[in-house]
């Protein structure tokens, strides 16, 4: 039986994707990350998403939740979003080319600063959302022309919900 392998690009948060070429022989995970040799012993993998590795003399304990080709991983109290990627898109850097502005959190829209047809300069406020006693002002990440305002002041919004759309 051939040993299971893991090949491909993994991208953690905003860092550059890294090329993974690993195989699991028994409990030894070994191979390369961006060509550099790595080796770890898998000490534990539990159904509820815990993985314990020995890397050299270190113990690495991770908690993992997976959705398709994406993972959320907690290691030493820090959480990372890791995804398999097959290509790297320049637009991925910050989403500033999106033809919309979305709410960064679930809450209530407290102010809308723009109207359809407005030309808005980079950095100008678009709208404000409030949740848990905190107000967050969403600003234009580039010069944009407003096409539609989908939420009025007082409306509830979910995280990621589009509030203002722009001309492409």
């Amino acid at each position: 039986m051939t040993a299971p392998t893991f090949h491909g690009l993994l991208k953690a948060d905003a860092s550059a994707p890294r090329k993974m070429d690993l195989r699991l022989d028994g409990d030894v995970l070994h191979g390369g990350i961006d060509g550099a040799h790595v080796e770890a012993t898998v000490a534990r993998g539990t159904a509820d998403g815990e993985v314990v590795l020995r890397v050299g003399d270190r113990r690495v304990r991770a908690h993992v939740v997976r959705d398709g080709a994406r993972w959320l991983v907690a290691v030493e109290g820090a959480v990372f979003q890791v995804a398999r990627v097959d290509h790297v898109d320049a637009a991925d850097a910050g989403g500033s080319s999106d033809p919309f502005a979305a709410s960064p959190m679930t809450g209530v829209v407290t102010k809308v600063h723009v109207r359809p047809g407005d030309a808005v300069g980079k950095g100008a406020p678009l709208f404000a959302v409030e949740a848990m006693k905190m107000e967050y002002v969403v600003k234009a990440e580039r010069d944009v022309a407003v096409v539609e305002v989908k939420k009025a002041a007082g409306a509830r919004v979910a995280v990621g919900e589009v509030v203002v759309t722009f001309a492409e």
């Binding site: 699991l24 990350i33 690495v60 908690h63 993992v64 991983v73 990627v85 959190m105 679930t106 006693k133």
Partner: protein, 515 residues
């Protein structure tokens, strides 16, 4: 009426907990230990919340907005009546310091587990409290003991008494709202206008008072318990200097590196303040301690504090039990009954994103792992998984570590935070670990402006190491943490910015998936 509690000998059997989240879970734990029946209340946002599942009885009190549920006096009192509760524990926040709630409980024949309504009502006006405790000999921050009058001349007159920099504070307020630092005379009028506006909106009382700004200063507070016989006991002190926008981040007991003279002054002042207010039940007297070790009174918190577990760890007592006993009319044990041992530190784990200005987060938690081990206590509002509603505060859990020394407690706290995992909403755990590791924090160079100027370094997103990628590869190869039926093919990264918090609705509990 229900008869005596088997364990505690208390004159009530059933206690309603008028709160949610970690504090409700924590109060229910004590009720259970004492053999008392617990009643939880819940809003529609908390239907499946941990406090609801752990109580013996749970009652819906309304829709998610706090004013329609956890802040609704009538709904909470009705829930107590319907469930046969004989006492109400208010926790902190929400209705805990509201005299009208305490009064409504008293009128309904319920024991309010906190100060009597009359004490709460008599201490709502912060400036009146300051004047009362000053008259009792408690050191207070310099400033006029009258409200700042309307108009510029009155403002200038008040400022002349404090000097610059000064602090404008809301008479009806707290939590930093209606509070402004005024560095220069030019800023005085504008600051007063905006403080009045904010105070009026938040508290329905736009009146302000002025104090000298004490800075640098440590925030040191004294835990007290007071009974109906007039006995007041000090249960040690805490340092809560590490704050961000008046919200405490780390708290510890005892306050480290205080001279015995300063500590004695603080404890005596706390007792004097409690006596001056006719205080009863558990309370906290907060002080600022300046660079020369001189304390001055800040305010009295008339409830159980978020950070009470550090005191419990050091003194080996249960403050909620003593709140219940005092509320039931029991006398406090003699002075010297509780003896401090070692040091304890608490970290507040919140659903917020430090790298985005501590933006509060809500939504599903796919997995929550709490630390355990000797000397570690976790008070959490969630277990394993759940949902963080957007309507309430962002505190998920408190991680508390106790050790023989401060260094030992901090080492345990750091390990405990490293063993904490919250997947699904961003948290401040990595930020907390950096604060705990900070050399000035380690060296007790503490002041309330500790975090100013360090936030960039403390909040930078951590870099994913090779360990993180190895763990992902291992999880993939072992089939760990996987959603069933989901393909593992590559995903494109163009288009809308990848945001797992937006798509987490797709996640389910890992342990549902793996055979």
């Amino acid at each position: 009426m229900g008869g005596l509690s088997a364990v505690a000998g208390l004159p009530f059997r059933t206690v309603l907990v008028a709160n949610r989240g970690e504090i409700a879970v924590r109060v229910i734990r004590t009720l259970r230990r004492l053999g008392l029946r617990s009643v939880a209340v819940w809003s529609d946002a908390d239907r499946g919340a941990r406090h609801v599942l752990e109580a013996d009885v749970a009652v819906r009190i309304g829709p998610p907005p706090p004013r329609d549920s956890y802040l609704c006096v009538a709904a909470v009192v009705e829930a107590a009546r319907r469930t046969g509760a004989q006492a109400v524990h208010p926790g902190y926040g929400f209705l805990s310091e509201r005299h009208d709630f305490a009064k409504a409980c008293e009128d309904a024949g319920l024991v309010f587990v906190g100060p009597p309504a009359s004490v709460l009502e008599g201490s709502n006006d912060k400036l009146a409290v300051k004047a009362k405790v000053a008259a009792a000999g408690v050191p207070v921050i310099p400033g006029p003991l009258g409200a700042v009058g309307e108009g510029e001349p009155a403002l200038r007159a008040a400022a002349a008494q404090t000097g610059y920099p000064l602090l404008l504070k809301a008479i009806g307020g707290g939590g930093g709202r209606g509070m402004r630092v005024v560095a220069r005379p030019d800023d005085l009028v504008g600051a007063a206008e905006s403080a009045r506006r904010e105070a009026g909106g938040a508290f329905g009382d736009a009146r302000l008072y002025a104090e000298a700004l004490v800075r640098p200063a440590r925030h040191v507070e004294v835990q007290i318990l007071a009974d109906a016989t007039g006995a007041v006991r000090v249960v040690g002190d805490r340092d809560c200097s590490v704050q961000r926008r008046h919200q405490k981040v780390l708290e510890e007991a005892p306050a480290p590196d205080l001279s015995e003279a300063t500590r004695r002054t603080l404890h005596r002042a706390a007792v004097d303040a409690a006596r001056a207010l006719g205080y009863r039940n558990a309370g906290t007297v907060e002080f600022l301690v300046d660079a020369a070790g001189r304390p001055s009174f800040l305010e009295v918190n008339r409830r159980l504090q978020v950070e009470h577990p550090v005191t419990e760890a050091v003194f080996g007592l249960d403050l909620v039990e003593w709140q219940l006993r005092v509320a039931a009319g029991e006398a406090l044990p003699p002075e010297g009954t509780w003896v401090a041992r070692g040091h304890a530190v608490e970290a507040r784990v919140c659903a917020e994103d430090p790298s985005r200005g501590f933006l509060p987060a809500s939504g599903p938690i796919a997995r929550l792992v709490t630390p355990e081990g000797p000397g570690v206590r976790v008070d959490a509002g969630w277990k394993d998984a759940g949902e963080v509603p957007s309507e309430y505060d962002s505190l998920l859990m408190k991680v508390v570590a106790h050790g023989e020394t401060r260094e030992a407690a901090l080492a345990r706290l750091d390990r405990a935070l490293a063993d904490t995992a919250v997947l699904g909403v961003p948290t401040n755990v990595a930020f907390l670990r950096r604060v705990v590791a900070d050399p000035d924090f380690r060296g007790v160079r503490l002041s309330t402006d500790f975090l100013d100027g360090r936030l960039d370094a403390l909040t930078a997103p951590p870099e994913a190491t090779a360990d993180v990628l190895l763990a992902v590869a291992a999880a993939d190869l072992l089939g760990v943490g996987r959603r069933s039926g989901a393909g593992a093919g590559p995903v494109a990264t163009g288009g809308p910015a990848y945001d797992p918090w937006r798509t987490l609705a797709g996640f389910r509990l890992a342990d549902e998936e793996v055979p």
